[in-house]
């Protein structure tokens, strides 16, 4: 009998949401186990043997154990590609472009997005005050990135090409969180970016991810 696929993750984790999105989009059956970050579960030896940097999420598929959400996302998109609904291109030229935009999210979009979420959401939740100067600075950086996205999305419906791919999916967690804060203005004022955002966030699989996270929070 096939071993069950497992995902270990945490509730307030964009990385976990990224892995969940990929799994749900590809309709992969898996068991989701919550790791209690506050209790330091991710630093314990048994977890470190799966994830040497102590990071979540971790994905197990038979003998394969993977850490790093973007790795999990890439693996699922290739190993569980569903013809007609896949997130990849067979042609290297086209897939190369998708790979480029996955890294753009990682290196250009994620840094200001993460710093903004840290200031606006995380710090207040632990009793610290938001540094408005940092917020203004990071918003300016994100705005420049979104200007490039606006031009790209003026030419293509999705970042990676003419269909939804991992290049779009990888943005979902931070988009979901940012568009509930004052930062949403940066998206609303860019028509192509806004159309793209609202489109991908309304995908059924993403709605299921949000739902799963909300339910896990209320049980935790």
């Amino acid at each position: 009998m096939e071993a069950k696929k497992k995902l270990y993750g945490a509730v307030d984790s964009p990385s976990t949401m990224r892995a969940l999105a990929s799994l749900l989009e590809h309709q992969v059956e898996f068991e989701f186990t919550l790791i209690d970050l506050e209790a330091g579960e991710h630093k314990k030896e048994v977890f470190l043997s799966l994830s040497p940097f102590g990071e979540i999420p971790v994905f197990q598929d038979g003998d394969l154990t993977l850490f790093e959400s973007r790795t999990i996302m890439r693996y699922i998109s290739h190993a569980y590609a569903v013809p007609g609904k896949d997130h990849i291109f067979e042609e290297p030229n086209l897939q190369g472009i998708v790979a480029g935009w996955i890294d753009i999210e990682d290196h250009q979009f994620d840094p200001p997005a993460s710093r903004l979420l840290h200031e606006i959401l995380h710090k207040p939740s632990i009793g610290l005050s938001t540094d408005v100067a940092v917020v203004v600075e990071e918003e300016a950086k994100l705005a420049k990135v979104l200007d490039v996205y606006e031009e790209r999305l003026g030419k293509r419906k999705f970042l990676g090409g003419n269909k939804f791919t991992s290049a779009d999916l990888t943005h979902l967690p931070n988009l979901h969180l940012l568009t509930r804060t004052r930062v949403k203005e940066l998206f609303e004022t860019r028509p192509c970016v806004y159309a793209w955002c609202t489109g991908i966030m309304s995908r059924p699989a993403w709605t299921k991810v949000v739902d799963l996270i909300e339910r896990s929070k209320s049980q935790a």
């Binding site: 040497p52 394969l64 290196h107 490039v148």
Partner: protein, 221 residues
């Protein structure tokens, strides 16, 4: 006969040299077009057309333009699966996943502290920018912790993703080269770990990497 691919950027750039290493491993013909960053050529309107974020490298192959060095490397491996080093990006999804994972580890955990140290210890003195001892110490500690994880991994495995040299190891060459060969201080972080030091010797001794280092040391065109 295919036209050589084009790589834009100085060979001294860590991200550019990552792509050069991959091109040499895959035996793909290329043309390196220098971009003079001190003259801000990377922010010119012409350059921004091929790399809208104004960074190096940019890459062109037939009709496509790509950016992001690790994405370019993946593309080269997919397109030229049967050329040069065939094991560089694995031959099946499981092996690929393992390689991807350690490429991500490099991008997420190794890159930040090592880049900060390369800037502080190598480029800042070169460009007469004041070094920040606090930043140096902080990143030395971070990098040391990352190398502890690598030390453990390399006890069980010859290379990061398994028994073959892959993109995962190659991704580390640019930053580590500067730290090991252009600094005394950061070099110690590598020499003090037995498996890491053994691994460094193997990966940096490859012919392809030696050629890249020669390109970096060549006088400007």
């Amino acid at each position: 006969m295919a036209t050589p691919v084009k790589v834009y950027g100085p060979a001294a750039s860590t991200a550019v040299s990552r792509v050069l290493a991959c091109l040499l491993e895959k035996e793909v013909q290329f043309q390196l077009i220098n971009v003079n960053m001190s003259k801000r050529e990377h922010k010119s309107p012409e350059y921004l057309k091929i790399q809208p974020f104004g960074q190096v490298p940019a890459f062109q192959d037939d009709s496509i333009s790509l950016f992001e060095s690790r994405a370019i490397c993946r593309y080269l491996c997919e397109k030229h699966g049967n050329r040069g080093n065939k094991n560089l990006y694995g031959t099946n999804p499981l092996v690929k996943a393992s390689i991807d994972q350690w490429i991500e580890a490099e991008a997420q955990s190794f890159n930040q502290p090592s880049s900060a140290l390369v800037f502080q210890l190598v480029f800042a003195p070169k460009f007469k920018i004041k070094q920040d001892e606090g930043v140096i110490k902080q990143n030395e500690e971070k990098l040391s912790k990352v190398l502890d994880v690598y030390e453990k991994r390399l006890e069980e495995s010859r290379f990061l993703a398994g028994e073959e040299f892959t993109l995962a190891d190659l991704s580390h060459l640019p930053n580590a080269q500067y730290l090991v060969h252009a600094t005394d201080r950061a070099r110690g972080l590598f020499t003090e770990k037995k498996n890491v030091w053994r691994w460094w010797g193997e990966i940096s001794g490859r012919e392809s990497w030696k050629k890249v280092v020669d390109m970096q040391n060549a006088p400007p065109a």
